[in-house]
Subunit: 253 residues, 2 copies
């Protein structure tokens, strides 16, 4: 069972090298329109998108993400949880901030922003473009807010670099479906011996990949450095969220 | 600039009434495959999907969501942030939980789950199916965890009800792009007089809608009841997240 859309979705791969061209105004407009038509929690439309073309800002964001392709070829977008807009609307109507500082409403804005980002990825890929999602913009939450000069009640949650692909990476193998999709009951007893075939598949993928950075199985990666405890400014995220006025309020008892 | 995929994305509307049929095994498999090929932060694959067919569980979830269409016609799915799987992998490899309890890693799992949900929405709509996203499963975070009998290190973040549409609602007008997409600088000075045309558009949409529940402008909705302070179990979300062992750890200073 497939069609043009699903074929693209099943063939998703991260593109990190782009040709030295930029999106047209028409392409930009299409991607923004797709973002705006994404489902939005309680119809509150609590997300915004920033398109970063300024070379200094691009360099500053690359510095935060520590990935050389960020702000290199291609177009750079930052998706924001945006409760500032609705705060302004309420203020101009003489209302207090109501529930805007609750964790609940923050998470609703987060859903809006992340769903819009995924919708934009799908749209871009359907146009023959490539995308790399940039969780790395949160490597220094305080710094990215300063670089973007964001007001309180906003928070940058995900970057996307989008452009014309200049590489053809292989499809990265994903966990077998029986490990991620369950009927009625969550399987607390996971047989990890079943993961050995998948581990082998992942190792083979890295062996074949052109730019070979890792060559480790899935379970070794999970047991390895990326989940080890270490110092990182990424752990300032709750502090900076609170500083932005977000997720500070536990509601009414 | 459009194609089949983008046409569907721009025509997204929430479907709340479905015909009394269920998805085929092939359709299910396609939707799960699309979910599994969604971008995943640091390749950690920290989301899972539950397909709820059990009538008692469906009734219990409908009770939580307080929406009559939840668990009625159509197929019901719950998307989880799932750090349990990786915790089990680490334990079976003799490792401690490492960074799994940090806010950072929780948010990465949340991105995984929400992006997968949006990808499934797009795939379902491309197949001619309709979808309603169910943020309402979080109306009682403790209760939904009990109903699904979830282990610690998991959290249900979004439901989707998917089926063959039995209604043709109109397209709901979204904020004009100039209010959500910005070049380099976030516009802190928003002219809300510019929103009056959009407010009128939203009011007209409600006037024309068949099942007319609201007939209020966008800014009146934002200034109105849904963002007013009131008691709701939704505000237990951080407490229940912590109870699940998620987002408890501020990392290493």
């Amino acid at each position: 069972m497939t069609n043009e859309t699903i074929m693209h979705q099943l063939n998703h791969r991260t593109i990190r090298a782009f040709k030295p061209t930029n999106l047209s105004a028409e392409q930009l407009n299409t991607l923004y329109s797709v973002a705006s038509h994404t489902p939005t929690s309680m119809f509150m439309q609590q997300m915004s998108i920033m398109h970063i073309t300024d070379p200094d800002k691009r360099a500053a964001i690359r510095e935060i993400s520590k990935q050389p392709y960020v702000g290199a070829n291609g177009d750079l977008f930052i998706f924001l949880v945006d409760l500032y807009r609705n705060q302004q609307i309420r203020q101009q109507k003489g209302k207090d901030d109501g529930r805007l500082h609750t964790a609940d409403i923050f998470f609703q804005g987060l859903d809006d922003a992340i769903m819009a980002a995924q919708n934009v990825i799908t749209a871009a890929e359907s146009m023959g473009l490539g995308v790399v999602p940039l969780g790395s913009i949160k490597n220094d939450p305080q710094k990215i807010i300063e670089v973007l000069n964001l007001p309180k009640m906003t928070f940058p949650v995900l970057g996307l670099q989008i452009g014309v692909p200049d590489q053809e990476p292989q499809l990265k193998p994903r966990l077998p479906l029986k490990f991620i999709a369950f009927n009625n009951n969550y399987p607390k007893e996971i047989k990890f011996s079943d993961l050995s075939d998948y581990d082998q598949e992942v190792t083979t993928y890295y062996d074949l990949r052109d730019t070979n950075q890792r060559s480790d199985s899935f379970t070794n990666q999970i047991a390895g450095a990326k989940l080890e405890r270490h110092y990182t400014k990424r752990d300032e995220i709750m502090k900076i969220l609170h500083q932005q006025g977000l997720c500070t309020d536990e509601g009414i008892d």
